[in-house]
Amino acid sequence: MPVLIKNTGFYALVALIVLVAVFPFYYAILTSFKSGAALFEITYWPTSFSLQNYRDVMSSGSFLRNLGNSVLISTTVVAISLALAVSAAYALARVRFRGRGLLLLTILSVSMFPQIAVLAGLFELIRAFGIFNTPLALIFSYMIFTLPFTVWVLTTFMRDLPVEIEEAAIVDGASPFVVITQVFLPLMWPALVTTGLLAFIAAWNEFLFALTFLSSDTQRTVPVAIALLSGQSQFEIPWGAIMAASVIVTVPLVVLVLIFQRRIISGLTAGGVKG
């Protein structure tokens, strides 16, 4: 009997969490099916089902291209920052050398400036490199926030891996590169997936850099594209279309999360060492 109560309580908690998390999104979906004055009416259940907003968004200019840009940029950013961060984290977590703490702090300090404060300087750099209005501009500038984060998180997680396993690999003749790629990475799936997803989403959702460093509609990423969705006149906010676009851009992320969350499993290091 108490088990039943406990279970019921647990599932109630799950339901509550899901409800709170998803409700606004649900509301966005509802809204995306509405148009005109219906937008200003409060409904809890779908009343109309019009795909007009979706059609508008998809046909508006270059939304699909923007989606493609976002995928390309975010994927590249995550790939590069994970690659860099994994190797940096190995050094920071696994090797004792002087100045390690200071180095970690320095890396962290990059994340301490407000984004707008680096905007001007970054813009100068990007123009100096001649990558203004190319995906490279974003891939490059996104490193400023993805790298410190990934380095720190991965360092923390790498520290927890049993020393003996690394030593076994070293004795087996593994170079640090092999240790990282063939021994550590498989054990760090939860951390990798988590940081990867968080960094991906951060890059996916970034707005300010994307707005500033890209100038043509075909190069833009989705958050900017959504922000640039416009109504019929300056002050009109096209709610229906914005919601439809948001739903569209959230779907790939949901799929991504669905695929990768399987990798967030426990007990990966079980059975390796005794002690």
Partner: protein, 398 residues
Amino acid sequence: EDLAFASYTNGASAAFLNRELANFAKQSGHTVKLITMPSSSSEQFAQYRLWLAAGNQDVDVYNTDVVWAPQLAEQFIDLTEAMKDRTAEIFPSIVASQTVNGKLVAMPYMTDAPAFYYRKDLLEKYGKPVPKTWDEMTKTAAEIQAGERKAGAKDMWGFVFQGAAYEGLTCDALEWIASSGGGHIVETDGTISINNEKAAAALDRAHGWVGTISPPGVLAYQEEESRGVWQTGNSVFMRNWPYAYTLGNGGDSAVKGKFDVAPLPAGAEGEAGASTLGGWNMAVPKYSKKQKAAIELVRYLSSDEVQKRRAIELSNMPVLEKLYDDKDIAAALPFMPAWKPIFQNAVPRPSATTKVKYNEVSSRFWTAVHSTLSGNGTGAENLEKLEIELTELQGGSW
């Protein structure tokens, strides 16, 4: 040559612009790439600022707000020579707003001014005239609101406007103050005139609206929120720009055909109301490598025909005086005549005077107004403080 034109667009104007740009390409041989900007004007401004500061050569023509010209004057070329055949036909006040130290910073091509929206049906029902003064408006609004609520419309309010702390509030408040004889914050000669009794009274009056005839949330309303309340039929009056007219008469609007517009109320009987001047212009940055072609584009987009088409297709107000008497336009836009008196009473914001400091002046001003509206000090107190701040900001000169 390939030109790049940075401009905010919306659904309708994008289609329009693309067509015109194609036309232009055919005529001149210059292709134009459109750089879409966000709708928030402060975001556009920040963006332009940055691009201009960095000497960005990738943009050849900028679409600019009325209040920006003085702030960005240094970075745009002088269009006086290139446009001298045109400027004479434009409302002089508009040209003046874009002229800094004798330099025509940007070429105006459309203008804008808000109006007072009222519910014909409700005024009729309660036998009230269109209010001429703010006090009258207050009374009428309260009465109808009470009546309608009793009749079951629980969410009915008297008046909605833009009360959020942003540039829009500067416009709204400037109207209340100017129409009450409280001056224009900073006068054209540079004197700070804002700290006066009339202005304080105007603000206190507006404070009286919040929570009585205006929803408390009005303190966070921008244009769209006001329109939302209005268009769902939950407000008797509204202060808004012309765009709400077309939308209000849209297919599913609750107020379709039930409303009309008038000039904004005045402070006292017999005086004229005031509408803040809005509008858009085009400017060519001095960093552009293709200034000649850029000027051609500006000339084309501000030409008579394009302005006329723009008026007909987009209901944008032209800056050419003569177009207001154009038959085609009058036929296409029946409300246009209603706006003519509104334009006559349009007041500019003190941007020309305060130049690069305008944004900060405006920000201080709307902060003071917002404080007053939210009951954080009286109008007199807040304006006194504002005066000190502005004096300090002014320093030696604007």
